[in-house]
Every structure is written in C-alpha cells, then in structure tokens.
C-alpha cells in the first residue's frame, strides 16, 4: 500500500515506537538530548535522528538554554491523530444515541403487553 514519506505527517512520525517513547518522555517536561539518550538507552545519533523527524512535523520544539538544547512536546501537532479517532468516535456515538431511542421504543412495546414476538412488528420507520 502506498504511503506518505516518513516525515510528512504526525501519523507517520509517531508510527515509530522509539519516537513514541520520546514523546512519552517529553510529556513529563523538557529534556536535553543527553537525558533522552540516557533514558532511552540509544546512541545519540539515533536519538537526534528521531528528534529531527519529530521536529519536522512540529511534534517537538527546541530551545537553547545555555549550552544545552532542550526539547519539549508540542501537542498541537498531534492534533490530527486525535481528530482522526474523534471522527470515528463521533459516528459511533451518533449511532448509539439513535439506538438508545430505538431501544426505548422496544422496551415500551414490551411494557405495553407485547412479548417482543415478531408478529407485533411496529418497528416501521418514524421519519
């Protein structure tokens, strides 16, 4: 399946497990590259490479603090991922809300003395 180049969007940027680990670490606060190298147990060039990918999609920002470069999380760049899940969730929430009204009606039918048998099918659309 065709797919976008690795650095083009947040989805691809977070597809790599180590990059997700970096984001997890940055979620708790700013970190220097050295910190990340130590916490991840990776070589510095690898960490730098991952950080570059994350920077290109805007998922992390960087600032100079004296001699250190500090990386921080930029949640806004991950918004598309959140939106993606939300969209799916919205569809199903809307379905479920409609299902609620269908179920209310079915329960009312049963209370009205029906036994839920096929014969008393009053399930015609109400539109």
């Amino acid at each position: 399946m065709a797919r976008a180049a690795t650095t083009t969007d947040a989805f691809n940027a977070v597809a790599e497990p180590r990059r997700r680990e970096i984001l997890d670490l940055l979620a708790t606060g700013e970190r220097s590259v050295n910190d990340l190298v130590r916490l991840l147990g990776l070589a510095q060039p690898q960490v730098s490479k991952h950080l570059r990918v994350l920077r290109e999609v805007g998922a992390v920002g960087v600032r100079d603090d004296g001699r250190q470069r500090l990386y921080r999380l930029n949640g806004q760049a991950l918004r598309p991922i959140h939106d993606w899940v939300s969209q799916y969730e919205r569809t199903w929430s809307a379905r479920f809300e409609r299902l609620d009204s269908v179920l209310e009606e079915l329960q009312q039918e049963e209370r009205d003395g029906g036994t839920g048998e096929q014969g008393r099918d009053r399930d015609a659309p109400r539109r």
């Binding site: 399946m1 797919r3 976008a4 083009t8 969007d9 989805f11 691809n12 977070v14 597809a15 790599e16 497990p17 997700r20 680990e21 984001l23 997890d24 979620a27 999380l73 949640g75 806004q76 991950l78 918004r79 991922i81 959140h82 993606w84 899940v85 939300s86 969209q87 799916y88 969730e89 919205r90 569809t91 199903w92 929430s93 809307a94 379905r95 479920f96 809300e97 409609r98 299902l99 609620d100 009204s101 269908v102 179920l103 209310e104 079915l106 329960q107 049963e110 839920g116 099918d121 399930d123 015609a124 659309p125 109400r126």
Partner: protein, 161 residues
C-alpha cells in the same frame, strides 16, 4: 487510551490492527440484539447523523450475508457487506465486513452483548487483516500502532482547546 463520548461510548485501539468500541445501554440485551439484527431497526440507527440507510439486508445464519447501504447527506451511496461467521443469539455475532469502496480490505467484526442489572454493555471489536487495512479504513497515512501516542494525547489534547 480512551476517548470519552457524551454518553460514555469509548473507542480504543487495543492493537495495531484493531478498533474497539464499547457502550452501555439502558436496555436488556435481547432488545439490543434485536436492534442489531432487525433490518427495519438497523435502518433507524446505523446511518448515525450522516445520512439515510437505504438498504439493510440481514440473513442471520452462519454463512449468511449482510449488506448495508447508506446515502450520506449530499453524497454518493456507500455500501458495506459481509458474511456471518458465528452467531450466539443475544450474546455474540462474528461477521466479516467489506467496505465496497475498498473491496480488498476485509475486516472481522465481533459484537458482544453482556447484560447486568437490566443494562447491556455492547462491544464491537473490528479486527483488520493488517495495520494498513485498518488505517486505510479510516483514510489516513498512518502506518503503525499508535496506542502510546494516543495515551499521550489523552494527557495533552484536552488542553489544546
């Protein structure tokens, strides 16, 4: 990672190839099951707020086929179909699902109905054959599991406004 809905529906991604939806209903499960398996009832809820369901065919037996067609508001119709693989009345339905716009990506859906104190918990597990299929299903370029990223988002997205 849990995305909280207005009425406590949750969508999670338990694995790279999976989507799981969970929702509780204030009704006994034989009714929830009925609403899921009766064409005229399915037509009333399955379109969500997206459009009208024009076709809901349900041949509820193992090996039997189902097909739903929806006409989105202002858009061309979209169809889904599949085959029932396992049916335990009022408890569990396993079926395949193919989005007709992407006929190569077949998913396996497992729907379970669990009742407690007159309320029913419904779960829908969508199992794709590959991550690519799952992700294509939602039309995105994402290539791998993002559960941890989503865990993270749960912490940060809320504050984004």
């Amino acid at each position: 990672m849990v995305v909280q809905a207005s009425k406590a529906a949750t969508v999670t991604l338990p694995g790279d190839k999976q989507i799981l939806m969970t929702r509780e209903f204030a009704a006994p499960r034989h009714l929830v099951y009925r609403a899921f398996t009766t064409p005229d009832l399915v037509k009333r809820w399955w379109g969500a707020d997206l459009g009208e369901v024009t076709v809901a065919e349900i041949d509820l037996r193992v090996g039997g086929a189902w097909r739903y067609v929806m006409v989105p508001n202002g858009g061309p119709e979209v169809g889904f179909h599949g085959e029932y693989r396992e049916i335990v009345p009022n408890e569990r339905i396993v079926s395949t699902e193919v989005y007709e716009g992407m006929p190569d990506g077949e998913a396996l859906n497992t729907v379970t109905f669990t009742e407690e104190n007159g309320r029913t918990t419904l779960t829908i597990l969508v199992q794709h054959r590959s991550q690519a299929d799952r992700d294509a299903h939602l039309n995105s370029g994402m290539e791998a599991g993002m559960q941890r990223a989503l865990d993270l988002l749960e912490q940060v997205a809320v504050s984004l406004g």
